[in-house]
């Protein structure tokens, strides 16, 4: 907590608070979840950076998607993402969410996750080590500083196309759209 930190705090406390209190939604999607315990516990202690796991999406603002995303998991991911309150950031682990990774031709896994929900940070590595996770987190901090970690803004702005993609994949999602503006898919169907 040196001097320039204090200056930043005084200048924009909200942004600093968003940076140093990332509550991760307690979501284990793919094979990467086995990397999360070492990140949280004694050896690499994520709590130093203010990262704490919370039980419900309502309370969290960081959404870690660790590993490949199957169809059924995507539905849960979309629902959880929509239930998270607004300044929220998503970080995807490993190559599978990027382009399907080694399951590129599997009928059951999602190829490009960012077609369905916006992703702010990618951490490469077929399950990155905790150090890589922390590099990712610090990188996320810089993104937040520059204001580039705007996944949630993109989601609300282009919600129509996100919703269209999701409905193309799943047909009926089971819950009403988050922003009930007239999305094209709905016009088409209505």
């Amino acid at each position: 907590m040196d001097r320039n930190q204090l200056a930043k705090w005084l200048k924009s406390p909200v942004e600093m608070a968003n940076k140093y209190s990332l509550h991760a939604v307690y979501f284990c999607t793919g094979c990467g979840i086995i990397e999360i315990p070492p990140v949280i516990t004694a050896r690499w202690d994520a709590e130093r950076f203010g990262i704490k796991a919370v039980a419900t999406p309502r309370q969290g603002n960081l959404f870690m998607i660790t590993g490949y995303v199957s169809l059924k998991t995507l539905k849960a991911i979309i629902r959880t993402y929509e239930q998270m309150p607004d300044p929220k950031y998503t970080v995807a682990f490993g190559s599978c969410p990027i382009n399907g990774g080694m399951y590129w031709d599997s009928y059951n896994t999602i190829k490009h996750l960012d077609k369905y929900i916006p992703i702010d940070g990618w951490i490469a590595g077929c399950m990155p080590r905790p150090e890589a996770v922390f590099i990712g987190v610090t990188h996320l901090w810089t993104l937040i500083d520059k204001g580039k970690a705007d996944g949630y803004i993109r989601y609300s702005k282009n919600y129509a196309s996100y919703r269209r993609n999701q409905e193309m994949l799943f047909g009926d999602l089971g819950w009403p759209p988050l922003y009930p503006s007239e999305s094209p898919a709905e016009e088409a169907r209505a």
């Binding site: 608070a17 209190s21 516990t41 202690d45 709590e47 130093r48 919370v54 039980a55 309370q59 309150p85």
Partner: protein, 309 residues
């Protein structure tokens, strides 16, 4: 009258600051026990600022009212609890100052017991209105846990009240400051109170109310953003109130605010150390435990005080 106004403004502020400090402290203590660094001491403040600015969802007016009432209840309870200082004539103790307890004259310990009830009941109502079964299960556990620790807690308080023959806390504190502390005059009650302290604080062995793994943080399942911020503050103040009550009843309350806060810190540390290493119990075990050991001790103490008087 003016000092009273100052006291009325001062004690909630003290409570607020100390509460946030205690929250941060508890996370550091647990981290240090896990042999890791843990967050900076001011981490709760950062969390609160972040939560305040996070957009949240609400399930209706009662959902919001529950949070506000809970915080109000906790703040009011603080006003009834002496936070150090003494009524003794000036100069009888070093660095002593007047009793910092604004509303001690309008209803004694009984009012405190009832006002401590204000918080949990309004959170229960708020959580009930959040239409989430996790919240309902959490609240039903909270009610049962409250019932579990209330039996010994009431026994302890009754033992003290019948020992000192008064229901006003200020008098109990001053009596302890003259003669022996509560720990020595009603030792078994002190032990019983310490046994149920984790239950009243809602920390590790008895944190089955907001168990993140089982019922998605129980009553707080639907609370996010500013509501969660207020609820963390309320939880902090509730912790502070319970420990302050413990200090006042058993450790004779501080001659001045500093010693009082030191005692609070000591008791909190003891409770945290105990809780950091224990796993979470099931509600049946909690009920069975609270109704056997602490109740037995408190009952024994009560019989002793009744017989000896």
């Amino acid at each position: 009258m003016v000092t009273r106004i100052i006291h009325i403004v001062l004690s909630p502020l003290i409570a607020l600051v100390v509460a946030v400090f205690l929250l941060g402290l508890s996370r550091i203590v647990i981290a240090r026990i896990h042999r890791r660094y843990g967050p900076p001491i001011y981490q709760p403040i950062i969390d609160i600022i972040r939560l305040m600015n996070q957009q949240s969802i609400s399930h209706g007016t009662l959902f919001e009212l529950g949070v506000v009432l809970a915080l109000a209840g906790s703040i009011v309870t603080v006003l009834f609890i002496p936070l150090g200082g003494t009524n003794a004539p000036p100069g009888s103790y070093p660095l002593a100052h007047g009793l910092l307890c604004p509303l001690s004259s309008s209803g004694g310990l009984l009012v405190v017991i009832y006002l401590m009830l204000f918080g949990p009941v309004s959170i229960a109502l708020g959580a009930g209105a959040s239409e989430n079964p996790n919240a309902s299960i959490g609240v039903s556990r909270k009610m049962l846990l409250a019932l579990a620790y209330e039996v010994p807690f009431l026994l302890v308080i009754l033992a003290i009240m019948s020992h000192y023959g008064t229901i006003s806390i200020a008098e109990i504190v001053s009596r302890q400051q003259d003669s022996a502390w509560g720990v020595f005059s009603v030792p078994l009650s002190a032990v019983a109170a310490f046994l149920i302290l984790p239950a009243m604080l809602g920390i590790r062995p008895f944190d089955l109310v907001g168990a993140p793994q089982e019922i998605a943080s129980g009553p707080l399942a639907e609370y996010g953003g500013r509501y969660l911020a207020l609820l963390t503050i309320q939880n902090g103040i509730q912790v502070f109130v319970v420990i302050a009550l413990f200090v006042n009843l058993f450790l004779g309350g501080g001659v001045n605010v500093i010693t009082f806060l030191l005692k609070v810190f000591a008791v909190f540390l003891a409770a945290e150390l105990v809780s950091a290493v224990l796993p979470r119990v099931r509600i049946e075990n909690a009920l069975r435990f609270c109704w056997t050991w602490p109740t037995g001790l408190a009952l024994a103490q009560m019989i002793i005080t009744v017989v000896s008087r």
